[in-house]
Amino acid sequence: MIVPTLTAMPAGYVAQPADMNALSTAATFLLKRPISRVHAGTAQTITSAGGYVAFNTKDYDIDGMWSSGSNARLTVQTPGWYKFRLGITGGSVPFNVAIASITGANNPSGNNVTSAWRWGGWAYTATTNAAANLQGLWPYYLYSGDALAVWAQNASSSITLVAGPNGASTGTTGNGGSFFGLEWISS
């Protein structure tokens, strides 16, 4: 999407259709802002070395941030400040999750620069599925082509991330599964 541009209209100025339609365009942009949500529909294993979590199923993706061929990240199409939401469901072992950004070609920092981990989550279990969940505003302005990716790790054990969702579960396996989403907040 294109971030709307609004012009000032000083006193005495006769508003033109373009001025008013720019306001309408801004309203449309905000009412249908870039937002995505994807989830992991199949199980996957993260080794003790850690790894990015793949999300192979799209729930909705208004701005084309998700790609089936590169599904371990969401790639920003519309520049701005973003809020992320994610939850990772694993089984039988405790684990940490974190989130990082990877720059694209439009970022002044250069292409393919991975940020430090920002935000972290933790879920503890020794017996069955546990789920870490975190959300917040990403601390860096994101340019078109920048991506966010979710990392999971248990340094002494592999993690089996379970598939989901499984409807109104009567147990704990699967539950809502692992999910990841981005929402455009402001320019």
């Binding site: 259709p17 306001l23 949500r37 729930d59 503890y124 279990t125 009567t170 704990t172």
Partner: protein, 206 residues
């Protein structure tokens, strides 16, 4: 008040425009986006204890008292006959929901899960009535501390566009029977925390 399923219509302006209707449509777009009395958003919390059976997903707030409501612009928290903290969607859209919930720690190594259950209503244009999905799950094992509640927070956007009549229910699952406390604000580590359930319309979708 509230949007009451009146979705904004974004106007198109032409040269020589004289329609007050179009200006009002634009004004409603702005109200829908920024006015808490129009934009669907709510904050409810549990005012009663909720008994939780072991190994059973339980709707939160289904005790004897009605949910306490901090604000509820679209009247979503009042659509369930049995007192509950569930939200019955009034205005179509994509919704973000958030919850904090906790239980007195029954013992070490119990599992506590919280999450949301979406259930399609009769007006859902994409899913048949009664279709459901659990989402936004947060879960962990309680630790061997004593005297402290186990509190979890979670947030997610509902994985489908919600239609009027769809229901989003905050739920909890524990491996041992327990009782969720109402907020008695009696101590730092126990009895101070109550269930909060908030939500708001994020996008109209496409």
């Amino acid at each position: 008040m509230g949007a009451n399923d009146v979705l904004p219509t974004v106007p198109t302006f032409v040269l020589g425009e004289s329609s007050i209707t179009h200006l009002q449509q634009l004004a409603y777009c702005a109200s829908f986006l920024i006015d808490c009395d129009v934009r669907p958003e709510w904050h409810g919390y549990s005012a009663a204890e909720t008994s939780i059976s072991a190994t059973t997903w339980t709707d939160i707030g289904s005790g004897t008292a009605a949910p306490a409501i901090a604000y509820d612009s679209d009247g979503v928290l009042q659509g369930i006959a049995t007192p509950s903290l569930a939200a019955t969607i009034v205005t179509q859209g994509i919704y973000c929901v958030e919850m904090s919930a906790g239980v007195p720690t029954p013992s070490a190594t119990d599992m506590v899960y919280i999450g949301f259950l979406w259930t399609a209503g009769t007006h859902n244009a994409e899913y048949t009535n009664g279709t459901n999905a659990i989402f936004g799950v947060r879960a962990t094992e309680t630790l061997s501390t004593t005297g402290g509640d186990t509190i979890l927070c979670t947030s997610d956007v509902c994985p489908v566009v919600c239609y009027p009549g769809d229901v989003i229910t905050p739920r909890i699952y524990t491996s041992a029977a327990t009782t969720m406390q109402a907020n008695v604000n009696s101590g730092t580590f126990s009895g101070r925390f109550n269930t909060n359930f908030t939500g708001y319309l994020v996008s109209m979708g496409t």
